[in-house]
């Protein structure tokens, strides 16, 4: 009975975070400027890291999923910094209405 309640609670957390990802996805698809899209992607990747740790807790395999989350965070850092550098160099010459 108690185990069941714990599992239901973690499933609730998983579903809530997944619904929040939908909000960020709206910002990525709709965002008026390209910088809004990058910020939305950053928010989605934060949610993905949290989701990985929660999934690990549900399956009681945290030690494995936490490693995946760490790798994902580092890859996300490199990708986001590269995109930001590119946009900064491009934005100096082009217009930013798109």
């Amino acid at each position: 009975m108690k185990e069941h309640a714990v599992e239901v609670f973690f499933l609730f957390v998983l579903i809530a975070i997944t619904l929040l990802i939908g909000v960020y996805l709206y910002r990525v698809l709709r965002g008026p400027t390209v910088y809004d899209r990058v910020l939305g992607l950053n928010g989605i990747s934060t949610k993905a890291i949290i989701l990985l740790v929660v999934i690990g807790t549900v399956y009681e395999r945290v030690e494995m999923f936490v490693d995946i989350a760490t790798g994902y965070a580092l890859v996300n850092l490199v990708g986001s910094l590269a995109i930001a550098k590119y946009l900064e160099e491009r934005g100096k010459s082009a217009d930013v209405s798109e």
Binding site: G43, I49, V54, V62, T70, G91
Partner: protein, 109 residues
Amino acid sequence: MSLNEIPELMHFLISAGLILVGLFFLLVAAVGVLRLPDVFTRSHAVSLTDSLGAFFLLGGLALYEGFSANLAKILIVLVLLYLLNPVIAHATVRAAHRSGLKPWSRENR
């Protein structure tokens, strides 16, 4: 329920409370991302509020794990998030500012 189950229940309830507080902050961040007017204000919702929500949520999960190697691993992810989130938000906002995007104000919307 016997008497020696009560500390276990307290342990779960405290970590569940931390996780729910974290979910609340993540919800506030999502509302900010939806409602705020431009990049510079939205970056506050994404970097500040999101980091606080992740802090509470991962802290609750680490407390739920108890005293083990998993706690240290979850804390490593927590510290990484706290270091990397502001760096990414700063780089993006700096790119937006350098490329001539004007901050939102009441006059020029």
